[in-house]
Amino acid sequence: MAELRFSNTHEWVKVDGKEALVGISDYAQHSLGDVVFVDLPSVGDTFSAGDEFGAIESVKAASELNIPIGGKVIAVNDALLDHPETINKDPLNTWLIKIEVASPIDLSHLLTLEAYEKIAK
């Protein structure tokens, strides 16, 4: 069963075979406040681990999004364009992009939920 892994920039990734979903943590959505806008990449864009892949904006400010692991974007969660507030309601089940993960898959720099919660509070 796939488990969420967290980056220290507050994104999560959920790897399932060669694909992975990417979202933001509960701490991130709480710090941002009301999310009103997401700026996501296009299908086909390729990123290396740590790259900025888009931005998320709350009422008060814009924050960049960094991709926890490298890969190619194969889907974008278009529902968020009209309903970005979904991210506030259920951050760990709201994905932003789906990627085809670059191999070999390396999660060693990412944190388990338990380890992440120790740094993000």
């Binding site: 009301d34 700026d39 904006e57 709350s58 008060k60 814009a62």
Partner: protein, 360 residues
């Protein structure tokens, strides 16, 4: 880091506390949007005790205040506060402020928290030739802002019906449990409302009354900024600063050339030639939210910058205030805002993002 007398109350209410102008202040208690709506639809209470209060007293205080401030300050006790700018000789804005003419020889200047030390130093330098006493009383005063359509009824209950008689910018004093309170029908939200000045202890008592007994929504600095932005009210450090003149920022109404003041010559020259930049409204047509300091382009050149921008509920598109070259300041002009290195189309519009609800 300074704390206002309400710090513990904010923490107990679950506020997200952030540093602002040397103070730990509440950014939000629940959400900026919810607090914004509370002020627009009913009423909200702000702790704005970080604001500065500087008294100018003495036989020549009226002359000094008028020399310092761009607007006309009447002599002696006046029932109305005056909004004005503190400018340097070049006409650039050192601060914007409210003046309460309390007596022939006593004027209260309410200034931005971020500028208290600078303003005090400036006023002291300018005061050398005047017989005055400068008293920076910021530590001895707290301030609450009760804002929204239901503010008047609450004030009547607490202080009496005479405070419903006040019109926008009028003020009066009240005795409250042995303390002197200054009540001003003003605010920074575009709504009807009141600003209440008193010693920190009294401010804390009034806060507890409105929050605990009357269940007023506590409001943080987050929505204070979205509300003042929707009302197109300037914020020092954004729309106005030491590189901006009041004329560029659309504050000509607070600059009176029929009197003398520091910066008058420079501003008069600028007025006659026409300011080279103007504060305008922008409506973002493309995808993206304009934010402070984003660059604005037209004809392949930089023509200005965004000073504040938000996507607010109730507005279909993101809005912004921007300082643009006058040539591009006409309503309807198409421009591009650089958002994360991508030009996003926007159009120049007026700055009337809402109808202000002042009781005039």
């Amino acid at each position: 880091m300074n704390k206002t007398s309400l710090y513990d109350q904010h923490v107990r209410l679950g506020a997200q506390m952030v540093p602002f102008a040397g103070f730990l202040m509440p950014l939000q208690y629940t959400s900026i949007t919810a607090e914004h709506q509370a002020v627009r639809q009913s009423v909200g209470l702000f702790d704005v005790s970080h604001m500065g209060e500087i008294f100018i007293k003495g036989p020549e205080s009226h002359a000094l205040v008028n020399q310092l401030v761009t607007n006309i300050v009447p002599l002696g006790r006046s029932e109305k506060a005056v909004y004005g700018l503190l400018c340097n000789e070049m006409g650039f804005v050192l601060d914007d402020l409210f003046v309460y003419p309390l007596a022939e020889d006593e004027y209260l200047l309410v200034v931005n928290a971020s500028n208290v030390a600078k303003d005090e130093a400036w006023i002291r330098i300018q005061s050398h030739a005047y017989d005055v006493i400068i008293d920076n009383a910021s530590d001895r005063y707290g301030q609450l802002a009760l804002q929204g359509p239901d503010a008047e009824a609450l004030m009547i209950d607490k202080f009496g019906s005479q405070y419903a008689q006040l019109r926008f910018m009028q003020y009066a004093t009240a005795d409250f449990e042995g303390a002197q309170v200054l009540i001003s029908r003003s605010g920074y939200t575009g709504e009807d409302g009141y600003e209440i000045y008193a010693d920190p202890n009294t401010v804390a008592k009034l806060w507890d009354y409105f929050i605990q007994e009357r269940h007023v929504t506590p409001c943080g600095l987050g929505c204070r900024d979205t509300l003042r932005f929707e009302g197109a009210l300037s914020l020092y450090g954004h729309e106005i600063d030491e590189n901006t003149t009041p004329l560029e920022a659309g504050l000509k109404f607070a600059v009176k050339f029929e009197k003398e003041f520091i910066g008058k010559q420079a501003l008069k020259t600028e007025f006659e030639a026409g300011p080279t930049r103007r504060l305008v409204g922008l409506e973002v047509i493309g995808r993206g939210i304009a934010r402070a300091d984003y660059e604005v382009y037209a004809d392949h050149q930089k023509i200005g910058r965004v000073t504040t921008g938000y996507l607010l509920s109730g507005h279909q598109r993101p809005l912004a205030l921007a300082l643009l070259d006058t040539k591009y300041a006409q309503i309807g002009t198409n421009v591009d805002i650089m958002i994360r290195n991508i030009p996003v189309p926007a159009v120049v519009r007026d700055t009337i993002f809402m109808d202000k609800k002042y009781k005039r």
